[in-house]
């Protein structure tokens, strides 16, 4: 991670420690005004002064220079909250993640995996309960098995049985055996052979995002004029995830055709990457620009860039994470994110400088836009999607006049007074 926010982290840790700026400056032998410049990332810091400040704040110097991935902190907090019978030292969480980043990463990864598996189990359990076809098939198999078991036992155990009854039971057995064979085959086909069954097992959008992540959100074959068919999707297990991924790739290919890489590069060397200006220059809509910017290699834009796409239900359809900006996956994000606010004002481009509460003081420029999807007939109400580009603010950039304070998710947001709070925060105190 680039060292652009050391000053912000010093400020954050100082505030957590309850130290005044002048006090910390005195302890490390510099003026308060110089510390102020450092804290606003306007002076680089390193060497002995960094070590002295870290000692004064009782943290590892690396914690100040490298910071900790905000998503990692968020995942660790949630892992601590979900733990049963174990009380994690939440107040030492940053220290833990700073000193043992590898182990912290493993723990966070395991927790995400558990959450994902629990969701899969929930889906399957729900399916057994509510899938009428499955319930009917199971009932058919078990009822037939019951009839066979009962009838066969009568024939085996009854010493003297009238020929009329015996013939009837033999006939019944034959009928039930045939029925059982058919219903078993049908059930197995439904469970194991159909792609529909496969579709429900995993979380396709997660698999698709993982595929994009593994490819750094950039596909040279498509950039060179290819299509989604040129991308090998065989590593994706489920058919549903392959379908979702192919849909994302088709959109990517459309965006590439509308904004070819060389032309985008030229435009970016001539001016700041302003989405509205780029939309006008390439004669494309704003979502195309936002998606295209998010998929460019980082060297084109000079700083990390993330993306969130959601529908009007608030479900996140696609996300590309950006360091320092936590993006919860399952419908638990903060409603004040511009991507959701844009849904209140469709077709109005929104630009906001945001900072996530409870995290580093890092600021992000967010561009959001909500637009209607195609309708299939007259008088059909369109469904809306919303997209948000998230860009880390450049080091030394002037502070925006207005910064919107948003949360990551309610569980790890310290804003107790928020009117939109859905559940109590697991933070015992402001972070």
């Amino acid at each position: 991670m680039r060292d652009t926010l050391t000053g912000s982290r010093i400020r954050e840790r100082r505030q957590i420690s309850g130290l005044r700026q002048a006090e910390l400056a005195r302890q490390v032998g510099i003026s308060a005004s110089y510390l102020n410049l450092i804290e606003h990332n306007r002076r680089r810091i390193g060497g002995k002064l960094l070590v002295d400040i870290a000692n004064a704040l009782s943290v590892e110097p690396s914690l100040l220079t490298q910071g900790i991935e905000a998503t990692l902190i968020s995942a660790l907090r949630e892992a601590a909250a979900d733990a049963v019978g174990q009380q994690a030292e939440v107040d030492a969480l940053e220290e833990f993640a700073g000193r043992f980043p590898g182990w912290a990463g493993v723990l966070a990864q395991m927790h995400r995996r558990v959450v994902s598996l629990e969701r899969t189990v929930e889906t399957l359990s729900d399916r057994l309960t509510h899938d009428p076809h499955l319930a009917a098939s199971m009932h058919e198999v078990l009822s037939t098995a019951a009839a066979i078991r009962s009838t066969a036992a009568i024939l085996a155990d009854t010493q003297e049985i009238e020929p009329e009854w015996r013939d009837r039971f033999h006939r019944n057995l034959h009928q039930d055996a045939e029925r059982l064979a058919d219903s078993s085959k049908s059930l197995v086909a439904y469970l194991d052979d159909s792609e529909a069954a496969d579709d429900r097992r995993g979380v396709p959008s997660e698999d698709a995002e993982a595929f994009f992540q593994a490819n750094s959100h950039h596909f040279p074959q498509i950039e060179a004029g290819g299509s989604s068919a040129d991308i090998d999707l065989s590593a994706i297990e489920s058919a549903a995830a392959r379908t979702v991924t192919k849909g994302y790739l088709d959109t990517y290919a459309t965006d590439v055709r509308a904004m070819p890489l060389d032309d985008v590069q030229k435009a970016l060397t001539e001016a700041e990457p302003d989405p509205l200006a780029l939309a006008a220059r390439f004669s494309v809509d704003i979502p195309t620009v936002l998606r295209r910017l998010a998929t460019l290699p980082e060297r084109y834009l000079g700083r990390p860039t993330g993306l969130v796409v959601c529908d009007a239900s608030g479900s996140i359809l696609f996300s590309k994470s950006v360091p320092g900006f936590a993006m919860p996956r399952f419908g638990e994000a903060c409603p004040f994110w511009p991507v959701f606010q844009a849904l209140n004002r469709p077709l109005v481009p929104i630009r906001k400088r945001v900072v996530q509460l409870g995290r580093t003081a890092a600021e992000f420029d967010c561009y959001a836009y909500a637009w209607p999807q195609a309708v299939s007939g007259y008088d059909d109400a369109p469904a809306y999607h919303s997209v948000m580009l998230v860009r880390a603010v450049e080091e030394g950039a002037p502070s925006a006049q207005s910064v919107t304070r948003v949360g990551p998710s309610c569980r790890v947001c310290p804003n107790d007074a928020c009117a939109s709070r859905r559940e109590p925060s697991i933070l015992s105190e402001g972070f």
Binding site: A146, S150, W165, D176
Partner: protein, 126 residues
């Protein structure tokens, strides 16, 4: 006087097997395969014991049982419920509806006979 069991089961071969077993035990067995009019059939038959399937055409066994227990004189009628769904919540639902004994398919003949004997003995004692 013969003891009477009313078997409400839409699976004819299960009904036939149980009818054979219970007849040999000295029971008079009446069968019915519909859920929608099951309450009227029970009231009309006045059985000593009911064997009731859960998944019936017209009305579920659970609903039939709940309605039955609301009727005067039917609170203590022994009801053995048969079902392909043996999950704990189904069992709990059946208990809340007032079932006397709950049995999951595929059951053994011995289990059915034991349950019927036990339920009848309990009803006779009380």
């Amino acid at each position: 006087m013969s003891r009477k069991v009313l078997l409400i089961e839409d699976e004819p071969n299960i009904a036939e097997a149980i009818r054979f077993l219970l007849t040999r035990e000295g029971w008079h067995v009446e069968t019915h395969a519909e859920g929608s009019d099951a309450i009227e059939v029970i009231q009309g038959a006045n059985p000593d014991l009911v064997i009731l399937d859960v998944m019936l055409p017209g009305k579920s066994g659970m609903e039939i049982l709940r309605n039955l227990r609301q009727l005067e004189g039917m609170q203590h009628l022994p009801v053995l419920m048969l079902t392909a769904r043996g999950q704990s919540r189904d069992r709990e639902m059946a208990e809340n509806a007032g079932v006397s004994r709950f049995m999951t398919k595929p059951f053994s003949n011995a289990e059915v006979l034991t349950a019927v004997r036990d339920l009848h003995a309990q009803a006779t004692r009380s």
